[in-house]
Symmetry: D2
Subunit: 385 residues, 4 copies
Amino acid sequence: MSQKKQLNIALIGTGFMGRTHSNGYNRIPNFFPDLQYQPVLKTVCSRNEEKANAFARQWGYEKAETDWKKVIADDSIDAVDICTPNDMHAEIAIAAAEKGKMILCEKPLARTLAESKKMVDAIEIAGVANTVWYNYRRLPAVTLAKQIIDSGKLGRIFHYRANFLQDWTINANLPQGGAGLWRMDADVAGSGVTGDLLSHCIDTAIWLNGSIKNVTAMTETFVKERMHQLTGKVEKVKIDDACAFLCRFENGSLGLFESTRYARGHKALYTFEINGENASIRWDLHDLNRLEYFENSDDSQLRGWRSIHVTDGEQPYMDKWWVPGLGIGYEHSFVHQVADFLQSLENGKPCSPTFREAYETQAVCEAVLNSAAAGAWEIVNLASK
Amino acid sequence: MSQKKQLNIALIGTGFMGRTHSNGYNRIPNFFPDLQYQPVLKTVCSRNEEKANAFARQWGYEKAETDWKKVIADDSIDAVDICTPNDMHAEIAIAAAEKGKMILCEKPLARTLAESKKMVDAIEIAGVANTVWYNYRRLPAVTLAKQIIDSGKLGRIFHYRANFLQDWTINANLPQGGAGLWRMDADVAGSGVTGDLLSHCIDTAIWLNGSIKNVTAMTETFVKERMHQLTGKVEKVKIDDACAFLCRFENGSLGLFESTRYARGHKALYTFEINGENASIRWDLHDLNRLEYFENSDDSQLRGWRSIHVTDGEQPYMDKWWVPGLGIGYEHSFVHQVADFLQSLENGKPCSPTFREAYETQAVCEAVLNSAAAGAWEIVNLASK
Amino acid sequence: MSQKKQLNIALIGTGFMGRTHSNGYNRIPNFFPDLQYQPVLKTVCSRNEEKANAFARQWGYEKAETDWKKVIADDSIDAVDICTPNDMHAEIAIAAAEKGKMILCEKPLARTLAESKKMVDAIEIAGVANTVWYNYRRLPAVTLAKQIIDSGKLGRIFHYRANFLQDWTINANLPQGGAGLWRMDADVAGSGVTGDLLSHCIDTAIWLNGSIKNVTAMTETFVKERMHQLTGKVEKVKIDDACAFLCRFENGSLGLFESTRYARGHKALYTFEINGENASIRWDLHDLNRLEYFENSDDSQLRGWRSIHVTDGEQPYMDKWWVPGLGIGYEHSFVHQVADFLQSLENGKPCSPTFREAYETQAVCEAVLNSAAAGAWEIVNLASK
Amino acid sequence: MSQKKQLNIALIGTGFMGRTHSNGYNRIPNFFPDLQYQPVLKTVCSRNEEKANAFARQWGYEKAETDWKKVIADDSIDAVDICTPNDMHAEIAIAAAEKGKMILCEKPLARTLAESKKMVDAIEIAGVANTVWYNYRRLPAVTLAKQIIDSGKLGRIFHYRANFLQDWTINANLPQGGAGLWRMDADVAGSGVTGDLLSHCIDTAIWLNGSIKNVTAMTETFVKERMHQLTGKVEKVKIDDACAFLCRFENGSLGLFESTRYARGHKALYTFEINGENASIRWDLHDLNRLEYFENSDDSQLRGWRSIHVTDGEQPYMDKWWVPGLGIGYEHSFVHQVADFLQSLENGKPCSPTFREAYETQAVCEAVLNSAAAGAWEIVNLASK
């Protein structure tokens, strides 16, 4: 057995994403034991000391810390994992890059394209390994979709459509801001569903179907005022509750995207579909182990959408888990991203999506929000303002 | 255009099946105009004169009659369609055969195997064209299943399973017997779900998978007593409310069948599935335009059950109807059976299932009921007692 | 029995829609025998005499005619059913209205809003009964959706989305124009998928969710040139192969619509979904007997999308057909529209969608095409130019 | 924070189930941190030293061992987890019980009812905590089914049906016996699909629907001879490749069970359905996060099977994982069983299914195999021979 290398991780942020990432690291030794690099949970950081301590105990971090600056100043740390609310991404990432730390940053990269630009610049100057947690790419069914597309089976692409539908903010009495609800505070989150949900759809779309050229969008805030948890006052809601856009891809195909937190009956319905000349694919997060696939070259009488249960050892990532028919869950996408990040260190290759790639997603989000504000088509501009 | 030949039909019975058959005849000129024989609705017969008249008016029969014996004595009648309750099938069919009439008999052929035997004998002696309305065979998806199986794509067959689940008799206050409810009166119906529902499953199974050798069965009557509509008294319920059986087919495959009227949530869930060495098929009456198909030779990473929407012109019967994607309904199975019957007259070939074939289904039903009564395996005996 | 009144029908056009309408009329006596008005198929008209004769024979028209002007001049005709290609709708409808005929016009109402305006004016001046064949409204599941919405169960509406996806024109060798393919000739059809498919989605949307205020759209013609059947030359394709648009409804909800003939794997996938505060509904033409319904007030642990098999006698139109669980087909929507038209004559009420209502759909289509051309949001303008 | 108690685990067997159990233990600290008992992976045992060492390294066991007798003689071990092939269950369990160890035994309990009887006796005499890994009970959707049934919502039960369909042994060239394939060797496994797959179905059925009284069964071995990996010779296959049975439950309902490894297209399709007077439930392992539920008291026009995505915090176990809509996987059932076992130690209650309960499942399996051999109905006999 080759000697393992330890990768010392510091996690900043102990919310929902802190849990998914920590679980990702923890499962590597059991399921990806052959990787040369193995993560070591060194430090977890939260402004709230009690939270930091409890989190460290629960997830096995050696140390709890309350000041992120101390964390990135710690020479024993190899990689910084940023799971804070969006408003802290840029500052921490830039500082960490300057210290030469590898960075794994939760999505979206930042609140704005301008912030994102500074982050990309910092990381590229520092030349450190980096990745952004657009985790859905690494569900086996989604990765299989990528492989099918890359194989050329679809031929010329005509259409791409995706949506991400939730229903958890319909209740007008739900407050905004503060613990657990910072995603509803535009100052912290940058935007509403556009940055939170559509960014996932855009990341996958660019990965599967290439760059987006231009967009026309609309947004809506259905509940105009909500009590703000931090101020205790009823305040204007500034996030987008819903956002939809049409677009054109560089490859000539048409795109249709929609996201909302007001689609009663849908918890986290992320779906995408891509239609090519010769084949089509669709997927649905609520049934994440399945990929639907239509191949036109099948015998015309016996042609139909295939429901592929992506649980065989020869399908992406599945040799690491159980046996055919036995599904995995949401959390595995993070395990796979950790594994791929560690593998990328071994290979010396970038771990996609890098900050640079996530910047493009951010540029689409920015064009979408600008288009909605202006009521006009907007070109996706990769040069920040 | 060739000269059309008229086939003069007399319908005996004006219940639910009278309607489905009449609709079957009526649609032939519009949808199967090229058939040499075209049905003419001559006479409808019901013991109730008012009903007979109303039915004739509604469905376009030239004449209404109350005495079936007069109907079969009428020389202008070419074919007699028997839609009465089961207890009249044998008497009418035998008499009609003796008069040289063609016969289209509603399923099940009769109440018992012994009655069925007499019917088969009568019809074969008379040498008249005949068919039994096991209509589900002629839904396009089911016919496509037959074509796939006949093509050999499945290879060696291992398993066949079917069920027919309903829930309409759960209410203990539902009466038995008489108009609309004769199916719950064993004296009239012969049996409960076995003759009414399982007979469909068995007919399809024999058609698709060959003969059944032996069975072990159980039946149950969940509600033991119900008010009888004809006597006005609470009487013992003698039909089987539910019936399930295991069997072995001649081809070595194993069979599993179940039927009930106590499966809450299912209206008419007739499903079957057949598993072969190389491919499998399944079908569901509630989504009757779809056939599910799995082919093992598909690329192993992209293999999955195909959901075939059987609505293309090249799929069975569908060139007669609309365009791809636009489904047809339950009633079309009867139109197709009429068309096939007319075609069989043109071709001089039997229209399957004939009385002889329906007799085999009856033999399986009888073995099933005997097995349930005896609590033992029973051999399917094609020689009546 | 009350005395029936005959409604003498003349059908102009013998294509696919001529068949669906004729079947609609033919089935009324069997399935809607209680209606006071009963249709009589008097005349069918096609420029091609042979076709007209064959169609008359097949469908039971008393007379075949080649000149539509003679047809509308015929005093025995009560109602004119227009199934010609779109470029003839206006001329025939206006002439027929002037003769005081009732008019049943195939959708879309016309090629342009301006044509449509003239038709509405003519019909309203004439004061004749009229309807436009947006048939999908009258599938039982869709009508049930309307009833649910009208009951108020959804509460405030947030989202409406619909698409109509086909794949039959992907082959670049498919010609355009002429018999069977006039839908691909913009001069005849007016537009491509917008008028042919999206118009259905828009009609249903307005019916279910009210008026659309403004739109932003994009269209695409994927195959730029095709052989034209009438000229024999390769010509520029002027129809829209695909069209998508975002919109805002008067009620404040957001809309998302898409249609294409390039979605590999979809034959006629018309789907819609509406999300309200308290409940949501979705439907899919490929499984037309089902309606999916989510009700938030269900016990929160046991809440889920309900798959309603709309085949019970108490559900819309289904008392006319079979028994629970036994589905009907596409064609029944036309039977229902005929029945409702006849009923409307009895009641003296309009049969929705009237020309006036179809005009609104046309106005949305026009706004969509204008928006796509201009690359800008467009207001739906009910005043024609 | 209360002081945690360590529960020292020894795992015997390093196959597929060794992995699922080890993962179950490893995730407790992260996801069930509040349990008083926390597992410590002390020892793993395999006859193959290299395997034992590698497994220890990968899964974090402190020690590797090759002799199970040493393991159970080790005083530091609190609980023995038996994951060996079935032929070793009895000997190890009895020996471990005699040493006063808690025992977690992989299913089926043993090869025969007689072996199982000795195990139950041993464990009850020793009075040690015990459980059998019928893990599927603890998938959230299945546990929710149990809660619904226990609430009485179903009313009187009429039907229970279950199947477990696989297709991995169709290839006649697959050998039998030895590493990875001991499940195909009757001497080691006891039986084929009956013990391996039907036992799961039976365990769930008894849990949800009570005891089974009597059965009639059939079994089949489709491929009669296979090369045996240990002898290198072609030998008779003695396991059942497929098994189906009918049964009656104590509560008067009818049961139908089937299992096979020859159902082409199904990887691990474990499904069950239960039909009650007022409601029905069904579930499918291939979509393990969903439960389908039909409630007859829903508005009759809007009634339909509900597809419940069992991922909300208030649904069983789901407060430990992610947020609504984000599914978990197969492996989580084992984590839940570990958690429940630890909880049971805290509560002093048995952790179902105990050996005693698993014995009843074994008794049904034995009755099934006897029935198939005898070709006769067999009573489930809880007294071993």
